[in-house]
């Protein structure tokens, strides 16, 4: 009888290295498709818009032509005025999103993991959720005035609801068989939550964070249009009030670009944090 594990057989199994799915190519490579989606499609849209203004399909006093918008964009960037509005808006967005999301994840974990927590607060939370965040605006203004607090709270509220709901669901969807493994290994509830339940909810948490980010942009602009004297929402509303059609569109494009960047950033963080997943991925 041999005492040593037969190394040869073991090695044979270990050669089976390439069970790993093929790696994605670098997403920075310029392919014809990248060119099409980032150059050709936007250019075609801008051309259509330009033609519509040029041939008076829309009144040029109300809608600016692309060339005017481009010139104005450069002006605003050089003078630093646009950067200022961006900084103000991003400050509100990031604060509201982070506070709201973190609280939402924390409450979601508590509700998902502890029956008592869910019994105590879930009925109230689930009654609060159907109220659209925008419907909170009057109350927030009454309570906190039109300052920064009410804006950050509005954004935070939207993020909180989204993250809470999905985190609780993600925790509850954890594989019972894996939870049983932690049980067999005598792990405490705290270890179970940190090392098993929370990681298994991560994909859903990140999907919710991206939805919350999109919602945060919407709520930011709503808050700034309704009651503000700075920020991108105020900027486009002010441009309408004082008939500056170029500014209006510069503001809109800025929001679009920043929204896209924030989503791309979250998407990258999500892909890294859940790189262990064995998914189709598209």
């Amino acid at each position: 009888m041999t005492d040593v594990i037969s190394i040869e057989t073991v090695t044979v199994d270990s050669i089976d290295v390439d069970a790993a799915p093929p790696q994605r190519g670098s997403s920075w490579a310029v392919t014809p498709l990248t060119l099409l989606s980032y150059v050709v499609v936007p250019v075609a849209l801008i051309l259509t818009w330009d033609l519509a203004v040029r041939y008076d399909a829309v009144p040029s006093t109300l809608i600016a032509a692309p060339s005017d918008v481009a010139a104005r964009l450069v002006d605003l960037l050089v003078s630093g005025k646009l950067e200022h509005q961006i900084a103000v808006s991003l400050g509100r967005l990031v604060q509201g999103f982070l506070y709201g999301s973190m609280l939402g994840v924390a409450v979601g974990i508590a509700v998902g993991s502890f029956r008592l927590a869910s019994r105590l607060i879930e009925p109230s939370l689930l009654t609060m959720l159907p109220i659209p965040a925008v419907a909170w605006v009057p109350l927030l203004i009454v309570l906190f005035g039109i300052g920064e607090t009410s804006k950050v709270l509005l954004i935070g509220l939207g993020s909180f609801c989204t993250l809470y709901l999905h985190t609780a669901h993600g925790i509850r969807s954890a594989d019972r068989k894996r939870v049983e493994v932690a049980h067999v290994l005598g792990k405490s509830k705290s270890v179970l939550i940190r090392r098993v339940l929370f990681p298994s909810a991560l994909p859903e948490i990140f999907a919710a964070a991206r939805i919350a980010m999109a919602l945060s942009w919407a709520l930011l602009i709503v808050a700034e249009v309704i009651a503000s004297s700075n920020g991108l929402g105020w900027f486009i509303w002010d441009a309408r009030n004082f008939n500056r059609p170029s500014d209006m569109i510069v503001g809109m494009i800025t929001i679009g670009v920043l929204g896209k960047l924030s989503d791309a950033l979250l998407g990258r963080v999500a892909r890294f944090a859940t790189r262990w997943r064995d998914t189709f991925g598209g």
């Binding site: 190394i7 493994v181 290994l185």
Partner: protein, 261 residues
């Protein structure tokens, strides 16, 4: 470390004091308005160092029996003792390998094994076990990058981290192909010898039970009970085509076909 353990185990085995004693009077499942007797008077004991298998048709309650010993199911009449202590729930004196590897996909192989231990578990112990199951060069891989056989080796290493006195195996090789299964069976025997672990294997594969065990408990169903206990005395490694082996297989098949009907 394992050498010291091994010699300690051998002494214990020499004394033949049962490490595990199972007296399971009744185990009943309740569903709405009716109840079903799943296990009926299961009594046996395992001396330290012995390898015992439980074979039986599917649905005979063998996995339920294993879950009771693991402490995952405590709702039964009777008592189970491991190393003199009454089983009231899961404990680190027992390691469990399930039919599926049940690895945590968000932990690399090494983390999956280390997770089973506690603060005092040494990295060297984790590495030693991974090399014992032949996965030294896969330590940093994600579970998704493992084949079925490799994943089950990780699960075995994980179950051994805490130096359990009893290893419970619930059809651990059931999902593997024939070649991998045969290789894992051979390796399992050597690993358990080295670690000095007593093992209880639940399987529906008669050959597997005969290759690995000192004793085979043949179960019958409705209600689940032990129909016969068969001692396997031939030397290891065992040959499936050996005359004695074939005779034992035929005997077990005979018991299963009559009691199963």
């Amino acid at each position: 470390m394992s050498v010291a353990r091994l010699s300690g185990k051998t002494e214990a085995a020499a004394e033949r004091a049962p490490l595990v004693s199972i007296v399971l009077e009744r185990k009943t499942f309740f569903a709405r308005d009716r109840s079903q007797l799943v296990l009926d008077r299961i009594e046996f004991s395992l001396p330290a160092g012995e390898f015992v298998s439980v074979v039986g048709p599917s649905g005979c309650g063998k996995t339920t029996l294993l879950r009771c010993i693991a402490g995952l199911d405590t709702d039964y009449e009777g008592s189970i003792h491991v190393a003199g202590r009454l089983v009231r729930g899961p404990g680190l004196d027992r390691g469990v390998v399930f039919q599926e590897p049940r690895l945590f996909p968000w932990m690399a192989v090494e983390e999956n094994v280390a997770f089973a231990g506690d603060r005092n578990t040494q990295r060297s112990r984790v590495k030693e076990l991974l090399s014992l199951v032949g996965l030294s060069n896969a330590e940093q891989r994600w579970p998704k990058q493992l084949s079925g056989g490799m994943a089950q080796r990780v699960a075995l290493a994980r179950a051994l981290v805490n130096l359990p006195q009893l290893l419970l195996l619930d059809e651990p090789f059931g999902a593997l192909d024939n070649f991998t299964r045969a290789r894992m069976q051979a390796e399992l025997h050597q690993i358990l010898q080295r670690e000095g672990v007593t093992a209880l294997l639940v399987t529906h594969d008669i050959d597997e039970a005969l290759i690995l065990s000192d004793r085979v408990l043949v179960m019958a169903s409705d209600p689940g009970r032990i129909a016969r206990t068969i001692e396997v005395k031939t030397d290891r490694p065992r040959d499936r085509n050996d005359v004695a082996f074939i005779a034992l297989r035929a005997e077990i098949e005979g018991i299963l076909s009559t009691k199963d009907g």
